[in-house]
């Protein structure tokens, strides 16, 4: 389908799109992304916080200390967990959405989009109220007699993944719903008619056909979960250190800008690595 879109979407020969149309955005990126990026790279090669001497000290300190390596791994892990959790919840919902009548599709779409209409700060703080010791979840569990003492949900990786799953869910759902709706029902029907079970149809037909949508969604969720500074610091607390809060601490509190620059570049590479891994999965996609 992507290939079909590419052929119909391509400009007719002789009516070439002028590359100069991209100049305004290109220049903006050059000034506001490429230049600061080079400055950041430059700062990372200062050896001391006062930026008086050049050297690889900041890089060496970051990459030889097990604590900082664990911070990288934890950040990656958080992104992976968020992608897994949103995937497990988004696919069933997307299948329901596909089967629903147009009216119900509109209702579902509105419900899915609703979280996006609230600021991420408010959504994060709402999760404190829900997950706290005296919050909704614990009150309910204790009221039902399921637990005698309140569960510790805030300030845990589990609590953070739960909150991020809700916060990032629309980013996974929107691309998935779009591709689900474009999927050819005949292929699904054919698979069932030829005797494949529901699960086999899902894994052999639906999944490969919707993979490009999932990859788009997973990329957005991964990039957004690994860099979710507010949610990570408010729900995760100080015992869970991730790259964004480390960058904030080193640049704003400790004033060690070279070290913060190394952490920033590491975060950038981490997110890029995740995105590249996801786009590598794209080769398993079936478009027709």
């Amino acid at each position: 389908m992507a290939a079909a879109a590419a052929t119909t979407g391509a400009a007719p020969a002789g009516d070439k799109v002028d590359w100069r149309l991209a100049t305004p955005l290109g220049l903006t990126y050059l000034v506001f992304f490429a230049a600061p990026f080079l400055i950041l790279l430059g700062i990372s090669f200062y050896a001391d916080a006062e930026q008086t001497r050049l050297g690889l000290d900041s890089w060496l300190k970051f990459y030889t200390d097990r604590f900082y390596l664990k911070v990288i791994w934890d950040t990656l892990k958080l992104g992976i967990f968020a992608v897994i959790a949103t995937t497990l919840l988004a696919y069933p919902l997307a299948l329901v959405y596909r089967a629903a009548s147009p009216t119900w599709q509109r209702v579902l779409l509105f419900i899915i989009l609703m979280p996006l209409l609230t600021s991420v700060v408010i959504r994060t703080f709402a999760w404190i109220v829900i997950l706290a010791r005296e919050g909704v979840v614990n009150q309910t569990l204790m009221g039902l007699g399921l637990t005698a003492t309140p569960l510790n949900l805030l300030q845990t990786e589990l609590g953070l993944v739960i909150a991020l799953t809700q916060i990032e869910m629309p980013l996974m759902l929107l691309p998935l719903l779009t591709i689900m709706n474009q999927m050819d029902q005949n292929l699904v029907d054919a698979s069932r008619a030829l005797g494949a079970s529901k699960w086999r149809t899902f894994f052999r037909v639906i999944l490969p056909l919707t993979l490009p949508g999932w990859i788009a969604g997973a990329t957005l969720v991964f990039a957004s979960a690994t860099t979710a500074f507010i949610s990570q610091s408010v729900i995760g607390g100080a015992r869970l250190v991730y790259l964004p809060s480390l960058i904030w601490q080193q640049s704003m509190v400790v004033y060690n800008w070279p070290f913060a620059a190394v952490a920033s570049l590491t975060l950038l590479f981490t997110v890029l690595a995740g995105i590249m891994a996801l786009s590598w999965l794209g080769r398993f996609a079936r478009t027709t």
Binding site: F67, R133, E134, G135, A238, V254
Partner: protein, 342 residues
């Protein structure tokens, strides 16, 4: 039909140009920008200080709401073209800003209220506008007897309900130093407090960012924390069960100062702003609910919601030398990060 000559157009244009310039010039002499802490400080300074300044000298003040560390980072990043004229800083970030040479000297002869402020609170680099008192905050409904000392926080039943925060703020740093002293250490030897933190960290109710602590207390996630009297009074005003307790070794005090930013555009107006902020009228209004700020003007009688009785009481409290603390702080922060993370 009216004929428009080139000369008319030029005359009109220059008149417009002048008109455009004139009010800008006037407003430049009657305005300034001050950084202010978000939350209560911003509300207080907008509601009390800004109108008082306008009334006293016709100067309009715009506020840039930033935490202390963000103010210093922003001015450092601006490299000589500061985005505001006046800082408000606690001693920790102030020491960092001083070391980076970010302060313009304050001329105390321009401050009419200077004689009303105790000696030592006005220096060449800043003017104290408010005192902060730090100690233990606890929930009196959960704990009928208050924690009596810093060491109590690390013992049952308090430790299980304690909210810990690290060295990134002034109040967090000074509290941890006092805890360290209570366990036999000092600023030069922080080993005892790290030992205790390591033992406590698996038991405590939360380890969180300083700004998150009041919210966690309000939600019942924690019932004991170390914080300033200002936060306690604000939470109490919102109906939260909270009380302040000075530890046996004494409550800690430090000063929040207003500083003029190096290279500031409106130095004269910044002096006027500082002068109004320390005036008896403003200081009296700022100590009342919902602001609860401890006054430093000798003419102000303390209201009874402040948890301290008079300005003289401050002199008996524990103070710290930030020139000794700051060089070690980055290492303490790193160690805190490493030892308390899961």
């Amino acid at each position: 039909m009216t004929k428009l000559t080139r000369r008319d157009v030029l005359a009109g244009a220059s008149a417009l140009g002048l008109a455009g310039l004139a009010p800008r010039g006037a407003s430049a002499s009657g305005s300034m920008t001050a950084a202010i802490y978000p939350g209560t400080w911003e509300e207080a300074y907008r509601a009390v200080v800004a109108p008082a300044l306008k009334k006293a000298s016709g100067v309009d003040v715009a506020f840039d709401s930033l935490f202390a560390v963000d103010q210093v980072a922003k001015v450092r990043a601006a490299r000589g073209v500061p985005p505001f004229d006046c800082f408000v800083l606690d001693p920790g970030p102030a020491a960092a800003a001083r070391a980076a040479g970010l302060f313009e000297p304050v001329d105390s002869s321009k401050l009419t209220n200077a004689p009303k402020v105790p000696a030592g609170l006005i220096t060449r680099d800043g003017v104290t506008c408010n005192a902060q008192v730090v100690g233990i905050a606890y929930n009196p409904k959960k704990f009928p007897t208050a924690p009596k000392s810093w060491t109590d926080l690390f013992q049952s039943p308090f430790v299980e309900r304690l909210g810990l925060t690290g060295f990134q703020t002034t109040f967090g740093t000074v509290s941890l130093i006092e805890m360290c002293k209570a366990f036999g250490g000092s600023e030069a030897n922080m080993e005892p407090i790290f030992t205790e933190l390591k033992k406590a960290v698996s038991k405590v109710a939360a380890v969180a960012a300083p700004a998150a602590m009041p919210g966690l207390f309000q939600q019942g996630q924690i019932d004991v924390m170390y914080t300033n009297t200002n936060t306690v009074a604000i939470l109490k005003g919102r109906g939260v069960d909270i009380a302040f307790a000075a530890p046996a070794s004494g409550a800690i005090t430090f000063q929040t100062k207003l500083h003029i930013v190096k290279g500031a555009e409106n130095v004269a107006n910044a002096h006027k702003y500082i002068d109004v902020a320390i005036s008896a009228e403003v200081q009296n209004a700022l100590q009342r609910s919902p602001y609860n700020m401890i006054p430093i003007n000798k003419d102000v009688t303390y209201v009874d919601t402040l948890d301290i009785k008079s300005i003289d009481e401050l002199a008996k409290m524990v103070t710290h030398d930030w020139t000794r603390i700051n060089p070690q702080r980055a290492a303490w922060i790193e160690r805190f990060n490493k030892e308390i993370t899961k």
